[in-house]
């Protein structure tokens, strides 16, 4: 995001104190540490802009997970090739079943390593979700499906998958508490008062990337006026309500 900053050294993850990150992490822990005999398929879902991908990025770094983002143009073959590439197989080739077997062998080497599949609803739309079920069944690794609001309903059409889901988490819009955490991490030297944070959260509908962009404008505004604390009454600049910033997500 377009944030200009001084001395950013937060000491801990930006996204760590956010509610959605805590929620995603809790789902991940439930499926990673599940008791024997319990299935390890987890869902994390919610509207776009609520920070699902950022939360999954934190999870990836925190747990050393394998991360796959599904694209619209993917076929079964591209799915397996992308998975193998993430498992460090250089230029995977062969039939889909050969490659699936190879992926299973690799995954079996890391039985507790989390596999995160982002935009998982696209796999369901393209009738490819059974591949995930096969992976899950064959390697018994924990799998976290991340996707849009309707992910659980879509998955319900595939009964054999659905009844393996053992943990659910829902991404929610950011609240003032989250905005405060974002302000602290992105602008550690500026104290943004709660009334202004509240205004920003309302105006941006709690979309995290827009809150960050708005905070960046607030920080520019404060810097120009040499303020180290800023409240709603001090601020007559804009709040970023439109499109997400050009960069970042």
């Amino acid at each position: 995001m377009n944030v200009r900053m001084h001395n950013v050294n937060p000491g801990f993850g930006t996204v760590a104190p956010l509610r959605n990150v805590a929620e995603a992490y809790s789902v991940a822990q439930q499926i990673i540490n599940r008791p024997p005999g319990v299935d390890g398929l987890g869902l994390f879902y919610g509207r776009s802009g609520y920070g699902k991908s950022k939360a999954s990025q934190y999870l990836q770094n925190k747990t050393g997970a394998i991360y796959l983002e599904v694209f619209d143009f993917w076929t079964r073959k591209t799915f397996v090739e992308a998975l193998l590439a993430e498992l460090n197989v250089d230029k995977p080739k062969g039939t889909i079943s050969d490659m699936m077997l190879q992926a299973l062998r690799r995954l079996q080497d890391d039985p507790n390593r989390l596999l995160i599949i982002d935009e998982a609803d696209k796999l369901i739309d393209k009738h490819m979700i059974e591949l995930v079920r096969d992976l899950y069944k064959g390697a018994r690794i924990p799998v976290l499906l991340v996707g849009e609001e309707l992910l659980p309903e879509k998955l319900a059409r595939y009964e054999r998958c659905e009844n393996r889901v053992s943990a659910f988490g829902m991404a929610n819009p950011s609240d003032v508490e989250d905005a405060r955490s974002l302000a602290r991490v992105y602008h550690p030297k500026l104290s943004v008062q709660d009334d202004l944070l509240d205004h920003i959260v309302t105006k941006t509908n709690g979309v995290a990337s827009r809150i960050v962009a708005s905070l960046s404008r607030v920080a520019d505004f404060a810097r120009a006026r040499q303020l180290d604390a800023i409240a709603l009454a001090d601020y007559d600049g804009e709040v970023f309500t439109g499109q997400a910033p050009r960069r970042g997500r």
């Binding site: 050294n9 930006t14 770094n61 890391d110």
Partner: protein, 203 residues
């Protein structure tokens, strides 16, 4: 007087030693489901004179619960207790080490932020509660990767620098690592003499 040389490096070959290599060989040796392996069988696949360092590594694995020694009259045998594809990164007292994790976390972020990132964005997004990436570390890694053509440097409309991972440089999940080598140059023949061995920069 300072000299400057252009080097073209071809044929990089990992040495058959070091913990990472030992781990790979151990995984291969136990791939058939038999977890027991002989130290000698691993040594056969290593460079010469590696016995001591291998034993130190195996004892470290044992301390950390990844392996255990199997009593035997002949040679030494170990059993692998925990399989994982990446070599465990351990401190001398057998605890998980954070070495290399900052770079890996930054690399994960770089691969995902297709629109690019500022150094500050990277430091924040790559940090977790146990491994914090500070801005200095992020800036250094970006500069190194920019210099070798992995990252492209751009300016946004405010004139602020940001980096983008080049598509062709997104070669896989493992983070590029900083290596250092000392080379001996003979100015008479204008040649590098001796073998060039690069070692990872531990910082």
């Amino acid at each position: 007087m300072q000299m400057f040389l252009d080097l073209t490096v071809v044929n990089v070959k990992p040495q058959r030693r070091g913990n990472r290599y030992f781990w790979k060989v151990i995984l291969e040796a136990t791939a058939d489901g038999n977890d027991r392996f002989a130290v000698r069988d691993i040594l056969d696949k290593c460079d010469r004179d590696q016995r001591k360092t291998l034993i130190v590594f195996l004892q470290l694995l044992a301390k950390a619960g990844y392996a255990e020694e199997v009593p035997s009259e002949k040679d030494r045998y170990f059993r692998l207790l925990r399989r994982q594809s990446d070599c465990p990164s351990l401190t001398r007292d057998g605890k998980e080490s954070s070495h290399g994790k900052c770079q890996q976390q930054m690399w994960n972020v770089m691969r995902r932020e297709r629109g690019g990132f500022t150094v500050a964005d990277l430091a924040i997004a790559a940090s977790t509660d146990d491994i914090g990436v500070n801005r200095h570390t992020a800036g250094l890694y970006c500069r190194v990767l920019h210099r070798c053509g992995v990252l492209a440097l751009r300016k946004d409309e405010d004139g602020q620098n940001y980096y983008v991972l080049k598509g062709s440089a997104n070669t896989g999940p493992k983070a590029p690592r900083r290596m250092a080598a000392t080379v001996i140059y003979d100015p008479n023949r204008e040649q590098i003499i001796g073998d060039v061995v690069a070692e990872e920069v531990l910082s």
